[in-house]
């Protein structure tokens, strides 16, 4: 459906998109994930034609989009802050794209009703957009974007401004809607939870480049670089040297999975790989702080003469802050990262 070949956009001397290659297959749900300023929104704008390319190509359905104006590309874009038309009611907003495409009035009305039903706002057509809650606005924006049946629907931080419970519910709903309609979706977000819950495939971006691309499970289990690992929230990344089945780290020897590449590297030790035991066994640490996370407790350990270490344990097993404990590493949740990539 969508192919980007070396897409480049520069703002002054800074490249917001730096030779990005990306493909989105029909009916695929791809989510671009990255910190703010990584070029995610520029990517969407370039595909929509709102941002001219400084290099490379955008192809939709195999056709080069150079010179095709925004309104003829047949894509949908849901803006970060919705950008509903303030002077129109809900129905007027949803019907806008249909009017632009010359859909007759009767058909428009039916389609608006159908879409409002779909997004869970039946009968809301006459309401003013100003009196909608954030979640309702989001649904209207979605209905408006879906109305002209775009071949590619793009979502810019679709759930960014909503509160947490609403967000978690909407992620599930959105996924169900897109599945049902078979919509091809390209979304961008800075929220990893959102990306992993929504997407078939996650593309992590950094400084206008693709840092990693894969299924949510792939990316989560095998971050390609220290940057990706840290962006996903993992703090235990240290320089290491792998020899056989063990890596030499500032924390001492850490077992690595069989078949890991040998030599100097960066090593990710997931908190779940750190087991907390009595101080007589393993790496001696002082418990610095505890953060309650619901199903588990994140424990911040301060080893003697080494970088701090994040561990996690069950709520019932949590040590007291200030306690002397020992940390033991398990190979299963340790990942050898590609070397030579700072972050």
């Amino acid at each position: 459906m969508l192919v980007l070949e070396g897409a480049t956009v520069r703002f002054g001397r800074r490249a917001a998109l730096d030779a990005v290659d990306l493909e989105v297959a029909d009916h695929e749900l791809v989510c671009v994930l990255g910190p703010s300023g990584s070029g995610k929104s520029t990517l969407l704008r370039a595909v929509a034609g709102l941002q001219p390319l400084d290099g490379g190509r955008v192809l939709l359905g195999g056709a080069d989009q150079a010179g095709v104006p925004v309104h003829r590309r047949g894509v949908g874009l849901m803006f970060q802050d919705h950008q509903l038309f303030p002077q129109r009611d809900v129905g007027g907003n949803v019907a806008f794209g249909l009017r632009m495409h010359g859909v007759p009035k009767g058909e428009r009305r039916l389609r608006v009703e159908e879409l409002l039903e779909l997004v869970g706002l039946p009968g809301a057509a006459r309401r003013a957009v100003g009196e909608l809650s954030g979640g309702e606005q989001q649904r209207v924006a979605l209905a408006r974007a879906l109305a002209p049946r775009p071949r590619l629907l793009m979502l810019d931080e679709p759930l960014g401004q909503l509160d947490r419970t609403l967000r978690e519910r909407l992620v599930v709903e959105l996924r169900a809607v897109f599945r049902r309609l078979g919509t091809t979706v390209l979304a961008v977000t800075h929220d990893q939870g959102e990306a992993f819950a929504l997407a078939d495939r996650v593309v992590v971006m950094r400084d206008g480049r693709v840092a990693q691309s894969g299924t949510p499970r792939d990316v989560w289990q095998r971050p390609a670089s220290e940057f990706v690992a840290r962006f996903l929230g993992f703090a235990n990344v240290v320089p290491a040297t792998v020899t056989g089945g063990t890596a030499a780290t500032p924390w001492g020897g850490v077992p690595v999975p069989a078949g890991s590449p040998q030599g100097a590297c960066r090593l990710l030790v997931r908190p779940s790989a750190v087991r907390i035991g009595p101080s007589c066994a393993g790496l001696p640490c002082v418990v610095e702080s505890l953060t309650f996370r619901g199903h588990h407790v994140a424990v911040r350990l301060r080893p003697h003469g080494a970088p701090p270490l994040e561990a996690e344990c069950g709520v019932g097993d949590a040590p007291e802050p200030g306690a002397e404990v020992g940390a033991v590493f398990a190979a299963g949740d340790v990942v050898v990262l590609r070397p030579g990539d700072g972050g």
Partner: protein
């Protein structure tokens, strides 16, 4: 009498949002420049033909003898003691008027911004009435209050009409609304929590106000002061009616030299002097506006007002109400009263006299009431012209800035044109009017006998209003709404029609209202070009006042009352249409 809106409300609350840091806004494109040029073509032609050409011609005519320029005339005239006297008076009365207006109106700004009391809307409406009143009516109203046979004269034998106090008070009357609307408009939108934060941090009530609120208000106060100064510096109708022979401003002197003494070269020099002074004032104004582009945290004004608390606030409210009553309501009330106060007791004598040329006492060739229809027709035509020219100019100026931003040459041209549009407010209207007479009288542009001459001159002062009203609204339309429309399949033109137009429609109506009121009251230029058999209301009023006799005086009052009602109706309509606060504060 015109007001340029300070760009306070230009950034609506919450503007610091995504749009503020949107890096895509306004990437330069050659097409943008072409569109801008196309939009500017008509405004530029309009100003060249109907402003620059007449003004330059008349200045040239005054300073040229045969084929050679007599620039020595400038020094010669400027050195004359009577001219120096006029210059000095113009300057100090403008300064005094400005200070007096600030002194009297700032408490009013506070009361209307921060206090909540019954009748607040009415008070706001009352203080705004003078603002759309023609200067001639204001002059007449003060004459009825302070002049010979006026209310004060009848009660205590006090007459102020040939003193400078009448001029100063009339100027305060006029410009009260300028300060209240400009400063109060911002004041109402300042977040009171800023002051509260300062209080919590240990500042006393007064210190908190001085350190937090005052600095935020200062640019608005400066802008209001500059506008008041500009209006009073170029004051014509008020001084013409109230000043008597003793006092004359530059503008009055230009009129005298042009129309009575027929000394064109002196008039030309005076025009240049006024032009230079106004240019300097506008330059200062532009700087204060730019300084003000610092982002202020603005909030919904409906949440910042509270009921008066304590004796001090109640006393303040009382004194503001009293001031408004004395200074604004009283002159207007006396004007109306005088118009009914005929020789044989109260009645419609003067109004009836307006109905025929003979009954009116031979001042006119046509029934004076005819002036009402003339005025309405002229004002409508002028409004249409001002809307067309002003909207095109505003649309061009509202186009996104070019890539290299403010420093670029194109940016400077745009800002320059923006300032240029304001010039008709300050250039002697008398000069413009006379310039029309002597330049637009030969082919290919012989408009001497055409009715369009008057609306063209009136539109000149209407255009700045239209631009000032439209520009902030056009700039406030989020570019991404247009993008949203484009993604949904709207072509650029369609997106403009579907997104921009509905949002600016109300601003357009407001601009139309102001242009209409300003055109209706225009006096300085119209007095030259309105034909004797087709006078406008202000011209007819001035002519009646210029004749002796009870009947003429009474008719002037009656016509002024009619003019006031027409203006008040326009204002009322305006306030109904007034779009939200993003549409500018006049």
């Amino acid at each position: 009498m015109v007001l340029a809106r300070p760009e306070v409300a230009e950034a609506p609350a919450g503007d610091a949002g995504p749009r503020g840091r949107n890096p895509w806004r306004g990437k330069a494109s050659p097409r943008g420049a072409a569109v801008r040029a196309a939009l500017l073509a008509l405004p530029v032609a309009f100003f060249t033909l109907f402003f620059a050409y007449p003004v330059l011609s008349i200045v040239g005519r005054g300073l040229r003898v045969g084929d050679s320029w007599h620039l020595g005339r400038i020094a010669e005239v400027a050195g004359r003691s009577d001219i120096l006297g006029v210059l000095w008076f113009t300057l100090w009365q403008a300064l005094a008027s400005t200070l007096l207006t600030l002194l009297i109106a700032l408490p009013g700004a506070y009361v209307l911004a921060r206090l909540d009391f019954p009748g607040k809307q009415l008070l706001r409406a009352v203080v705004t009435v003078p603002f759309v009143l023609p200067t001639v009516v204001a002059g007449t109203a003060f004459l009825a209050l302070l002049g010979r046979g006026g209310l004060l004269d009848a009660l205590w034998g006090v007459r102020l009409d040939t003193t400078v106090w009448a001029i100063l008070l009339a100027h305060v009357f006029f410009n009260y609304a300028v300060v209240v609307r400009t400063v109060g408009g911002l004041w109402a939108q300042l977040d009171p929590r800023q002051e509260e934060a300062a209080r919590v941090l240990g500042a006393g009530r007064l210190t908190a106000w001085r350190r937090v609120t005052l600095p935020a208000l200062a640019p608005a106060v400066a802008a209001a002061a500059l506008m008041v100064f500009l209006f009073t510096f170029t004051s014509f109708g008020v001084v013409q009616i109230l000043g008597g022979p003793a006092y004359s401003t530059l503008e009055v002197e230009i009129y005298r030299q042009t129309a009575q003494v027929l000394d064109l070269s002196t008039a030309a020099v005076l025009t240049l002097v006024q032009f230079a002074a106004v240019g300097a004032i506008l330059a200062v104004h532009a700087r204060t506006v730019r300084r003000r582009e610092t982002a202020l945290r603005l909030v919904d004004p409906s949440h910042t007002a509270h009921r008066p608390r304590g004796a001090a606030q109640r006393a303040l409210l009382g004194s503001v109400l009293a001031t408004v009553g004395l200074l604004i309501a009283a002159p207007l009330a006396v004007l109306v009263q005088r118009s009914f106060d005929g020789p044989g007791g109260y009645g419609l004598v003067y109004y009836r006299a307006l109905q025929s040329a003979e009954a009116s006492g031979g001042t006119f060739l046509v029934p004076p009431l005819q002036a009402v229809w003339n005025s309405l027709q002229y004002a409508l035509a002028a409004t249409a012209i001002a809307l067309l020219v002003g909207s095109l100019a505003a649309a061009a100026l509202a186009l996104p800035r070019t890539a290299s931003g403010k420093a670029s040459a194109a940016g400077r041209v745009v800002r320059g044109f923006d300032a240029l549009l304001m010039l008709p407010l300050g250039v002697s209207a008398v000069t413009v009017g006379f310039g029309f007479l002597i330049t637009l009288d030969e082919p290919p542009l012989d408009l001497r006998t055409s009715w369009i001459l008057v609306p063209l001159a009136q539109a000149l002062v209407g255009v700045p209003f239209v631009v000032r009203t439209m520009l902030p609204v056009l700039r406030a339309v989020d570019a991404r709404l247009r993008e949203a429309a484009a993604v949904l399949g709207a072509s650029p033109l369609r997106a403009w029609r579907e997104v921009d137009l509905p949002l600016v429609r109300r601003a357009l109506l407001v601009a139309a209202g102001f242009a209409f009121a300003v055109s209706l009251g225009e006096f300085g230029a119209t007095v030259f070009i309105a034909r004797p058999d087709n006078p406008t209301l202000p011209v007819a009023v001035a002519r009646l006042l210029g004749r002796p006799g009870e009947l003429n005086y009474g008719q002037a009052m009656a016509l002024s009352t009619i003019l006031m009602l027409v203006c008040a109706a326009a204002l009322l309509l305006l306030d109904r249409l007034r779009p939200d606060r993003s549409a500018g504060e006049f």
